[in-house]
C-alpha cells in the first residue's frame, strides 16, 4: 500500500503536532497538577474549572475563543507576536489548539498520580532536612512518573484526534494545518474519497494503538523501578 503525498503530509503533521503539544504541555501540566493536588488556596475551584473547561465546552467554541484571545489586537496576541510566534493559519496554531484541548487530560492523570504519593514520605524527607524543591524533585516527581506517562499518552492520543478546535482556529490547509482527522474529513467530502478515508482511518488506529502499547511497556517498567 503506497500513500499519496497528501496522506503522508497529514500523517507526519499529525504526529509532529501531537508530540509538540505533549512536549509544550507537560511542564505546565505538572505544575498545575501539583498546585491542585498539594496546595489549598482561594479560588482553587476556579483554577480547576478553567483548566477543565476545554473538556466540557464544544471544541468549536474553544477554537473560536482561541481566535478571539490571540487576535492581533489582544494583549496575548501582541505578546506572542512580539516573541515571533504566529499561530494564525500555520501548524503552530494546530499545536496550540491540541495543547489546550489535551491539557485537562494531562493535568488529571498527573494530579491523580501526585495525590497517590504518600505525603508521609514527603514529611519524612522534610525531617531529613530536605526543602520543598528537593522533595518535589527527589520524591514527588519520581513517584508520579506513571501518571506522567499516562497523561502524556492520553494527551498525544487526544491531540491526534483533535478536530473541532483546530479547524476553527487554523482552518484546513493541506501541508500546513491539515492534520490526519482534517484530511480524513476532506476525503469524505470529495467524490471517490472513501478509499483514502478508509486508509487514513486504519493508519489513525495503528498510530494510537502503538502509542498505547508503548506507554504500557514504559509504565510497567517505571512502576517496577519505583516499587523495587
Amino acid at each position: 500500500m503506497t500513500l499519496s503525498a497528501e496522506e503522508l503530509d497529514a500523517i507526519w503533521l499529525s504526529i509532529r503536532v501531537a508530540l509538540w503539544a505533549v512536549a509544550m504541555g507537560i511542564i505546565p501540566a505538572v505544575l498545575c497538577a501539583l498546585l491542585l493536588a498539594r496546595c489549598s488556596f482561594k479560588g482553587k475551584t476556579l483554577v480547576d474549572a478553567a483548566i477543565h473547561l476545554p473538556l466540557v465546552v464544544p471544541p468549536v467554541v474553544t477554537g473560536y475563543l482561541l481566535i478571539i484571545a490571540l487576535g492581533r489586537n489582544t494583549v496575548l496576541g501582541g505578546f506572542f507576536e512580539a516573541i515571533g510566534l504566529q499561530f494564525a493559519f500555520n501548524w503552530k496554531g494546530a499545536v496550540l489548539a491540541s495543547l489546550v484541548m489535551s491539557f485537562p487530560l494531562m493535568v488529571r492523570a498527573i494530579r491523580l498520580s501526585i495525590e497517590a504519593v504518600d505525603t508521609g514520605l514527603e514529611s519524612a524527607a522534610r525531617t531529613l532536612g530536605a526543602g520543598r524543591l528537593k522533595i518535589f524533585l527527589t520524591i514527588t516527581l519520581p513517584l508520579s512518573i506513571p501518571g506522567l506517562i499516562t497523561g502524556s499518552v492520553l494527551a498525544f492520543a487526544r491531540s491526534l484526534g483533535e478536530f473541532g478546535a483546530t479547524i476553527t482556529f487554523v482552518s484546513n490547509i493541506p501541508g500546513e494545518t491539515q492534520t490526519l482527522p482534517l484530511a480524513l474529513y476532506s476525503f469524505t467530502q470529495t467524490p471517490d474519497g472513501e478509499g483514502m478515508a478508509a486508509r487514513l482511518c486504519v493508519i489513525a488506529i495503528i498510530i494510537s494503538v502503538t502509542a498505547l502499547a508503548c506507554s504500557e511497556v514504559i509504565a510497567r517498567r517505571a512502576a517496577k523501578r519505583i516499587s523495587g
Binding site: 508521609g120 519524612a124 525531617t127 526543602g131 516499587s227 523495587g228
Partner: protein
C-alpha cells in the same frame, strides 16, 4: 539538654505537658493509645505546631510561641523514625541512608555494620523485611547527624519475632550515639527493655516521670484497673536451656523467669503484675511456684471495690492485688511478715 513545654487543643482533648531531660539515653513516652504521646514528638519534630509553648534542644530554641519562633522542620535536625518506616521506595538502601543533605557518608560503613544492614545497601526497600526496613530507617535518621532521635512506636507494625530481633539494635543506640532518644510506645516489654527514663502520659498530661523501676500503675488506666506493676533490676546469673529458665539475682534473692533464650543483656528489668502475686502467711513447700519472696507489708491501699493492693518490702518493692475477703481472712496489717508467691510463667522482662 532538652526543655520542652507544649500546649495544644485538639477539641476532643488537649495536651499540656512540660518536661526536661538531661540524659543522652532513651526516654520512653508511654501511655495508652490516644493519650497524646505521638502528638508530643510530632510537635518536637515540627510536624505539628503547638498552640503555645517552647522547645529547647541543646541550646537551640526551635519553637517559642512568645517570641514567634518556629524553626522549619527541615532545619530542626530531629531524626524521626516513623512507625511505618517510610523508606523512599524508588531509592536503594544506600541512597535512602544518604538522603539527608549533610549526611555523614564517612560513618555509613560503621552505622550500617552496627545496624546489621551492611549487606543490604544495594537492595531496594520493597525487597526488605519489616525489621530490616526499620533498621534502615534508624540508620537514615542517625546519618543526618541529628540532635535528638524521635521514635514513634517503631516496632508496632512488626510481628513478635521481628520485634525481638530489633529490640537489641535499639537498646544499643545510646552507647554508640551521644544523643537523647525519645521513644513512644505502649508496650510494657519495650519500656522494660529500653527505657532509661520513663514519662507516663495519659489524656494529654504527664502522670509521672522518673526511673522505670519501682511500683507503678502499668499502662492501663485507673478505670480499667490497669496492671499494677512492680519493676526491679536484676542481673542474669544462670540460664537453663533445657527448661528455658533464667535465674536472675537481685538484692533480696533470686527470681526465675521463663525465656526462649538467654537474654543478651547482663542486667534486665523484671516486672511482676500485682494480680499475679499470691500472699501467704507461711512459706509453702511442695509447691510448683518458683518465686517466693519474704517481705513485710508496708502499706495497704484500697484499690477497687473488692480488691486491695498490698505493698510490701521484699528487698525490692512488690505489690500484690488480692481480694478484700482474703485480706480480712489473713488479717493483713502493716508491718506483718508475709510470703509473696509469683509463678515463673507470670514474670516478664
Amino acid at each position: 539538654m532538652i526543655d520542652v513545654s507544649l500546649k495544644k487543643d485538639f477539641g476532643a482533648f488537649n495536651i499540656d505537658v512540660s518536661f526536661t531531660s538531661e540524659t543522652t539515653g532513651i526516654t520512653v513516652l508511654a501511655g495508652p493509645s490516644g493519650s497524646g504521646k505521638t502528638s508530643i514528638i510530632n510537635m518536637i519534630a515540627g510536624l505539628s505546631t503547638p498552640d503555645s509553648g517552647r522547645i529547647f534542644i541543646n541550646d537551640r530554641l526551635l519553637f517559642d510561641s512568645d517570641s514567634k519562633i518556629d524553626c522549619p522542620i527541615q532545619q530542626r535536625r530531629c531524626g524521626y523514625i516513623f512507625q511505618d518506616g517510610r523508606l523512599f521506595p524508588h531509592m536503594s538502601v544506600r541512597r535512602n541512608l544518604l538522603y539527608a543533605k549533610n549526611s555523614d557518608a564517612e560513618r555509613l560503613p560503621e552505622i550500617a555494620e552496627l545496624l546489621g544492614i551492611a549487606h543490604l545497601l544495594e537492595r531496594m526497600p520493597g525487597k526488605l523485611s519489616g525489621g530490616e526496613k526499620q533498621r534502615v530507617a534508624i540508620g537514615r535518621a542517625l546519618l543526618m547527624r541529628p540532635e535528638v532521635l524521635l521514635m514513634d512506636e517503631p516496632l508496632a507494625s512488626l510481628d513478635p519475632q521481628r520485634k525481638d530481633e530489633l529490640l537489641p539494635y535499639i537498646a544499643r543506640l545510646p552507647e554508640h550515639f551521644n544523643i537523647p532518644i525519645f521513644y513512644v510506645t505502649h508496650s510494657r516489654r519495650e519500656i522494660l527493655r529500653l527505657s532509661d527514663e520513663l514519662i507516663r502520659i495519659d489524656k494529654g498530661r504527664i502522670q509521672s516521670s522518673g526511673k522505670p523501676t519501682g511500683e507503678y500503675l502499668g499502662l492501663g488506666t485507673t478505670e480499667t484497673e490497669g496492671e499494677y506493676l512492680s519493676v526491679f533490676e536484676c542481673t542474669i546469673a544462670d540460664y537453663n536451656p533445657e527448661y528455658g529458665v533464667v535465674q536472675a539475682d537481685f538484692s533480696g534473692g533470686s527470681v526465675f523467669i521463663l525465656a526462649d533464650e538467654r537474654p543478651g543483656e547482663k542486667t534486665i528489668r523484671a516486672a511482676i503484675r500485682a494480680s499475679d502475686v499470691t500472699v501467704s502467711l507461711e512459706k509453702p513447700t511442695q509447691i510448683s511456684t518458683r518465686n517466693i519472696f519474704s517481705g513485710k507489708i508496708a502499706r495497704l491501699e484500697e484499690s477497687t471495690a473488692r480488691s486491695i493492693l498490698v505493698h510490701t518490702d521484699a528487698g525490692i518493692p512488690v505489690a500484690a492485688r488480692i481480694s478484700k475477703a482474703s485480706a480480712d481472712r489473713l488479717k493483713l496489717a502493716v508491718g506483718k511478715e508475709v510470703f509473696l508467691l509469683v509463678k515463673a510463667v507470670s514474670m516478664t522482662f
